[in-house]
């Protein structure tokens, strides 16, 4: 079995799956092959591919799913805003994802407010302000250097007072290995207690994606992920690495820079890329 599994690992890695994730998938495939009944009609190759397909499907369809629109309805009934925080390393598309989500919610007659909790990076507040203006939603912001948690808290109070359905909190990019910045995010989590904590990742990322997912998950907690830049000619292995590491669903994938470039994640599309 070992001989047969090795080329599978190479296939996964070439399809952008992280090395440690590929290891674990191969383990699960070998387990399946050990337990399979060898029917006379199926070739060894088709048995292996079937074992791989089912392992990938198991990973990519985690037990928990999130239906955002029904979750919003649930919170509307409770007369509470649904508070969503977005975090991840630098440049992965957090801010644009918030704009896309605000646009998506608006199309579904759901109101939202943006919270400019990236109070650090140059131009971050103006960037989110311009997105808010284009989408047609309100933005709560303070000055650069102000407390990120305070801005988020402000936005939640505003949403509660005005009956706004959803709060979308933008945070500064941060390396998952930066202790101070992770502590700052933990503080925002404690102060605001978001209902949904969204990890945002970049589909072009290699092995560091596992470290990102694991550390953000252990220090903050991840309810779902958004993986962006899936339009950049990727095989999509990054989605496998992230869902495997978090066991949480992919809420959306980003497939471009326009507001409607936010699509549901379809496991079959990734599996089709990986399975030779």
């Amino acid at each position: 079995i070992k001989k047969v599994i090795h080329p599978l690992k190479d296939i996964l890695i070439q399809n952008e799956v992280a090395v440690v994730t590929a290891d674990k998938i191969c383990e699960s495939v070998s387990d399946k092959l050990l337990n399979v009944e060898y029917k006379r009609m199926s070739s060894p190759k088709s048995l292996i591919l079937e074992a791989l397909r089912s392992s990938l499907l198991e990973i990519l369809q985690p037990e928990e799913t999130i239906d955002l629109l029904s979750l919003v309805e649930e919170y509307k009934k409770k007369k509470q805003p649904l508070v969503i925080a977005f975090f991840g390393i630098n440049g992965v598309g957090k801010t644009l994802s918030i704009a896309k989500l605000g646009y998506y919610l608006k199309k579904n007659d759901i109101s939202s407010v943006f919270a400019a909790s990236d109070t650090f990076r140059a131009g971050s507040i103006q960037q989110l302000e311009q997105h808010a203006k284009k989408v047609g939603v309100k933005i709560i912001s303070q000055t650069y250097g102000s407390d990120a948690a305070a801005v988020a808290f402000d936005a939640v109070s505003h949403a509660s007072a005005k009956g706004i359905d959803v709060v979308l909190i933008d945070t500064a990019g941060r390396m998952e290995t930066n202790k101070n910045l992770m502590a700052e995010l933990q503080k925002l989590d404690r102060v605001v207690e978001p209902d949904l904590k969204i990890f945002v990742g970049d589909a072009l990322t290699g092995n560091s994606l596992v470290s990102q997912a694991e550390l953000f998950n252990s220090k903050i907690g991840i309810d779902a992920s958004i993986i962006n830049k899936m339009d950049a000619d990727v095989k999509g292995g990054a989605t496998i690495s992230v869902v495997h590491a978090t066991r949480k669903p992919i809420l959306f994938i980003g497939v471009g820079q326009k507001y409607n470039d936010l699509k549901p994640f379809i496991p079959e599309q990734i599996i089709k890329n990986v399975l030779p």
Binding site: Q14, G123, Q126, Q127, M175, L204, T205, G206, D233
Partner: protein, 292 residues
């Protein structure tokens, strides 16, 4: 850890000797794994491993601990060979103005790096100015203005103008008239599937004729790095690479692959978000970090 598994495999190989096929196989597997975990391109990693096998098995190696050192130095040398051994400086003309242009994938760190280079060059006595041809990303102009205000470097931008070549030409002309002699041009992010944006990038290049085009590569880039870099280099003559975000957990193998694809040197690394976080590239320490 990554480094210790590879070192263990090397120790086993040394104690087993050249004749031990199993130890050689183990060593090759551990080497390949180390390179792939550092995001080195699959094909390049396999090539490096077979080169190391050839060289470490056929060379007249001294025994014992020094042989272990020579296997490590062979792996090291194969990687440094891809990156180049000497320090390649950024273009700085002394008899006429210099114009450099930054290109790269969305979010790779171009705008931040533009400001970092501005500070680096200003420290070397040039009169530096920055132009942004990014009329697309909301807040791009403000981002660069805020970064460059820290170092008192002027920024020209015109987000309302639909024509990026016009913006670049106007900004550069303005600064040349004001006797600035080093101008850095920031551009919008793009990837290899966005054919219109690749054309726009090439259009900018041919109209502006910069002295150097720098491809900014995110240090986190994985197995897609090689083909992305190749596409950029085929479209526009890339002169060098700057790798960013090496202050995280990424080992930078994607950047090494990009350098191999574009056949250009890496000149700087970015290891932080502030305007001071730019370091001249050192192949030895880069490879050391990559191998763990």
């Amino acid at each position: 850890t990554l480094g210790s598994k590879l070192h263990k495999a090397i120790s086993n190989f040394i104690s087993g000797g050249v004749a031990d096929k199993e130890a050689i196989k183990q060593l090759k597997n551990e080497m390949l794994r180390a390179l792939l975990e550092s995001d080195v391109d699959f094909e390049i990693a396999n090539k490096v491993v077979s080169e190391v096998e050839k060289k470490s098995l056929e060379k007249e190696l001294p025994d014992g601990l020094s042989r272990k050192k020579s296997v490590i130095s062979i792996i090291h040398d194969e990687l440094v060979a891809i990156l180049g051994k000497k320090h390649y400086p950024i273009t700085i003309n002394h008899d006429k103005p210099t114009i450099i242009m930054l290109i790269g994938i969305q979010g790779s760190g171009k705008t931040t790096t533009t400001a970092k280079i501005a500070k680096y060059i200003k420290k070397r006595g040039k009169k530096v100015a920055v132009v942004t041809a990014d009329n697309w990303r909301p807040g791009a102009y403000e981002q660069l203005q805020q970064l460059c205000s820290q170092i008192d470097v002027p920024v020209y931008g015109d987000p309302e103008n639909k024509r990026t070549v016009k913006i670049a030409q106007t900004g550069i002309k303005k600064f040349l008239n004001e006797k600035y002699n080093y101008i850095i041009l920031d551009t919008a992010g793009r990837h290899k599937e966005e054919k219109d944006l690749l054309n726009e990038m090439n259009d900018l290049y041919s109209k502006i004729k910069p002295d150097e085009v720098i491809l900014v590569i995110d240090g986190n880039l994985g197995q897609t790095a090689y083909k992305q870099a190749k596409a950029f280099a085929e479209k526009t003559p890339v002169g060098s690479i700057i790798v960013t975000k090496l202050d995280g957990s990424a080992k930078g193998g994607g950047a090494l692959s990009a350098a191999a694809a574009a056949k250009v040197p890496i000149k700087f690394i970015g290891n932080g978000e502030t305007i001071d976080d730019l370091e001249e590239f050192n192949p030895t320490s880069f490879v050391g970090r990559l191998l763990g």
